[in-house]
Amino acid sequence: MSKTDKKAGSETLEGRDPELLRRVYEVMVLTRAVEDRMVAMYRGGDLLGSLYTGHWHEAISVGAASCLRPDDYMAPIHRDLGAHLWRGMEPWQVMASFMGKATSPTGGRDGTLHYGRLDLGIYNLPSHIPANFPVATGMAFAAKYRGEDKVCLAFCGDGSTSRADFHEALTLASVQSLPNVFVIENNQYAYSTPLRLTSHSAKLSDKAVAYGIPGVTVDGTDVLAVRDAVGEAVARARAGDGPSIVEGVTMRMHGHAEHDPADYVLKELYEEYSKKDPVELFENVLLKGGVLDDDTVKKVRDDARQLAIAARRKALADPMPEPSNIEEGVYAD
C-alpha cells in the first residue's frame, strides 16, 4: 500500500479557523449518521439495489470538498456522500435516489449513487469509472476559457487509476494546465481486487510523474492532512499553475457494496483501520484542541441522528415516479 508523504496535519490546530473546523466535523458526523441509516434501510429491504457507502472516506471526501468555493466545480464518486452534503445536498434526496423515488434528483430515471446536482456545481456521473475525470477537465477548461478562477475537484478510487479515462484526463489537464485537482481515494481495494493487482507503482501519487505535475500521498483518515494537501492543490490550480494529484490512503470498511461480504479482505487491514475511524480521530483532535467540548459533540451527534431519521422518514413516505412522460426529455429543446 502507498506510504504517506507527510505527517498527519492534525498535530496542531494552530492558525486554523475553529468555525470551519466545526462545520467540517458536523458534515463528517452527518455523513456517518446518514450512511448508517441507509445501511439499516438496505438491510430492511427498503432500497432498490445495493448500497455504496463511504465509511472511512469521510475525511477525504469532506476534507477535500471543504477546500472549494461554492462556485467551484466538483465531480465526486460513490464514496463521497460527505462531499455532496458539504455542498448542500439533502440527505433525504440521497435516500430517495437509492429507492428510485420521484423526489430523487433524477426523479427515479437514474438512481442509487447517481444523484449529483449540477445546480450545486456537482457532476452526476454514470457508472463507468472514472468517466468523471475527463468531464472534470471540461469543467475546468470552461472556467479557464472564460477567464474565471474556478477550480474543478474530481475524485476517483485506486482501481480507477488503471483506466483510459484517468490517463487521458490527466494528460489533457497537464498539457493544457487546467485548474483541476484529482483526488485518489485509495481504500486498498477495487471491488475484490487488491491494490497490487491494480497498480505496480510504489504510490498511486507517483503517477503524477507521468504527467509532470505535483503528486502527494496523505493519511486519508486525517481530515486536516487531506485539507492541507488539497488546499495547496486548489490554490495552485486557482493561481493558474495547473493540476495536481492528491492520494488519500484509507480503507474500505464495508463491502464494495452492502451485498458484498468482502471476505477477501485481509483481516489485518480491518484491525489496523478499526482503530482509525476518521470521524472519531477528528473529534478527539477537536476536543483536545478545545474547539469542541463534550456537550457540543453530543449535540452535533444528536442533531445528525435526528436529521438522518427525519430524512429516512421522508424518503420512505415519498412517492414513486409516474411513467406517463417517460419518453420525454431524451432530447433537450
Binding site: G49, A102, G108, A164, A190, S192, M320, I326, V330
Partner: protein, 347 residues
C-alpha cells in the same frame, strides 16, 4: 497459420479434480454458463478466463466461483479495471494459439472495449488470415432496477460490424452448448448472458456438454397462425405467452434465433412462409435494434407470403430507468407482447 500458433501449451495441471462448482439437479442459466466454461477449460489447456474479480471472488455474478481453486491464477486471471487493455491482451494471446475467454463485469462496460473489439478483433482475420479465437462474455439487460448504465442491451452496438459472431442464448441448455461452440470457434465471439435469467431460469434436467452449432435457429414452440422471432429472455417469455394464446385459439410459432450473427434466415423465413404473420421481439430499444435487421430481411425474403406487416417489439427509445414503474414502462411487458400478437394474428 504460423508454426508457433500450433498449441504448444503444456498440459495444464488441474489443482482440484471434479467440477469447479457443484450443479443442482436442474441447473440454472448461471450454472450452465459456469459448467460449460469449466468443461472447456478442462478439455483444452489453451482456454483461460480473464476479467475483473473473476479469481478469488468468482466474478460479480459468481460464474467463475471455484475456478481459481481448480485452475490456479495462471488460467483464472484477475485484471485491473482496463477493458481496452485486457481485450487487446486477449487478442494478442489468441493470435499465438491461446483461446481467451474475456468476462466483462457488466455488458455496459464493453463500451470501454468497443475500439479493440471492432478494430483489433473483428477485422483481423479478413485482413490477414490469422485466427482470432476470443470469446467475450458479458451479462446484459434490465429488469434488475440497475439503471441507465448497468442495464444495457449491447447487441446493436456490434451487429453491424463484420467479423464478429453474436450469441444470445435464451435457455440454460443453449447457454451451455452455445458457449462451448463459441469457445471452440476460431473467431471473436460476443456471448451475451441475460443477467435477469441467471438464477430465474432452470434447465429441465441435467445439462449436455455437446456443442450447439452457431447459426442454427430453433423452433421452440410450434404454431401455425403467427411467428414470433426472438432471442435471449424473449424465448421463455415467448413460449409462456404462446402457451397462453394456445388456449385462446391463437397458435404462435416461437423461433429462437440463438445467434444474431450468423443469422439463420432460412428457419425464420420458412416459419413466416407457413404462418404469414410475424412479430419480432427483443428487450433492446426499438430503433435500429436487431429487430430492424430481422424485419427488413423477412419482408425482403417473404414479402409475398406476408398477410400483415412485420411488427417489431422493443424497449422504448430511451435509456433504461432505475425506478420500477419507469423501467417497466420502458421494457416490453408480457401483457403488451401478448396483445400485439393477438392484434397481428387477428388483423
Amino acid at each position: 497459420m504460423p508454426t508457433d500458433t500450433i498449441p504448444g501449451t503444456p498440459p495444464a495441471p488441474v489443482l482440484r479434480s471434479g467440477p469447479a462448482q457443484e450443479l443442482s439437479a436442474n441447473p440454472t442459466y448461471l450454472e450452465a454458463v459456469g459448467a460449460a466454461l469449466d468443461h472447456e477449460m478442462e478439455r483444452d489447456p489453451n482456454v483461460f478466463i480473464i476479467g475483473e474479480d473473476v479469481g478469488q471472488f468468482g466474478g460479480a455474478f459468481k460464474v467463475t466461483k471455484g475456478f481459481l481453486d481448480k485452475y490456479g491464477p495462471r488460467r483464472v486471471v484477475d485484471t485491473p479495471i482496463a477493458e481496452t487493455g485486457f481485450t487487446g491482451l486477449a487478442a494478442g494471446a489468441a493470435l499465438v494459439g491461446l483461446r481467451p475467454v474475456v468476462e466483462f463485469q457488466f455488458a455496459d462496460f464493453i463500451s470501454c472495449a468497443f475500439d479493440p473489439i471492432i478494430n483489433v478483433l473483428a477485422r483481423h482475420h479478413w485482413r490477414t488470415g490469422d485466427p482470432m479465437p476470443v470469446t467475450m462474455r458479458a451479462p446484459f439487460g434490465g429488469r434488475l432496477r440497475a439503471g441507465p448504465t448497468h442495464s444495457q442491451s449491447v447487441e446493436s452496438y456490434f451487429a453491424h460490424v463484420p467479423g464478429l459472431k453474436i450469441v444470445m442464448p435464451g435457455t440454460p441448455e443453449d447457454a451451455a452448448g452455445l458457449l462451448i461452440s463459441s469457445i471452440r470457434d476460431n473467431n471473436p465471439t460476443l456471448y451475451l448472458e441475460n443477467k435477469y435469467l441467471y438464477r430465474r431460469l432452470r434447465a429441465t434436467g441435467p445439462l449436455s456438454m455437446e456443442p450447439i452449432p452457431l447459426g442454427v435457429a430453433k423452433v421452440v414452440h410450434p404454431g401455425k397462425d403467427i411467428t414470433l422471432v426472438t432471442y435471449s429472455a424473449g424465448v421463455h417469455q415467448g413460449v409462456e405467452i404462446a402457451q397462453e394464446l394456445d388456449k385462446e385459439g391463437i397458435s404462435v410459432e416461437v423461433v429462437d434465433v440463438r445467434t444474431l450473427v450468423p443469422l439463420d434466415v432460412e428457419t425464420i423465413v420458412n416459419s413466416v412462409k407457413k404462418t404469414s404473420r410475424c412479430v419480432v421481439l427483443h428487450e433492446a430499444a426499438k430503433r435500429l435494434g436487431y429487430g430492424a435487421e430481422i424485419a427488413a430481411t423477412i419482408q425482403e425474403e417473404a414479402f409475398w407470403h406476408l398477410d400483415q406487416p412485420v411488427v417489431r417489439i422493443g424497449a422504448k427509445n430511451t435509456p433504461t430507468a432505475t425506478s420500477p414503474p419507469l423501467e417497466d414502462a420502458i421494457i416490453p411487458q408480457p401483457a403488451e407482447i401478448a396483445e400485439t400478437l393477438r392484434k397481428v394474428a387477428r388483423a
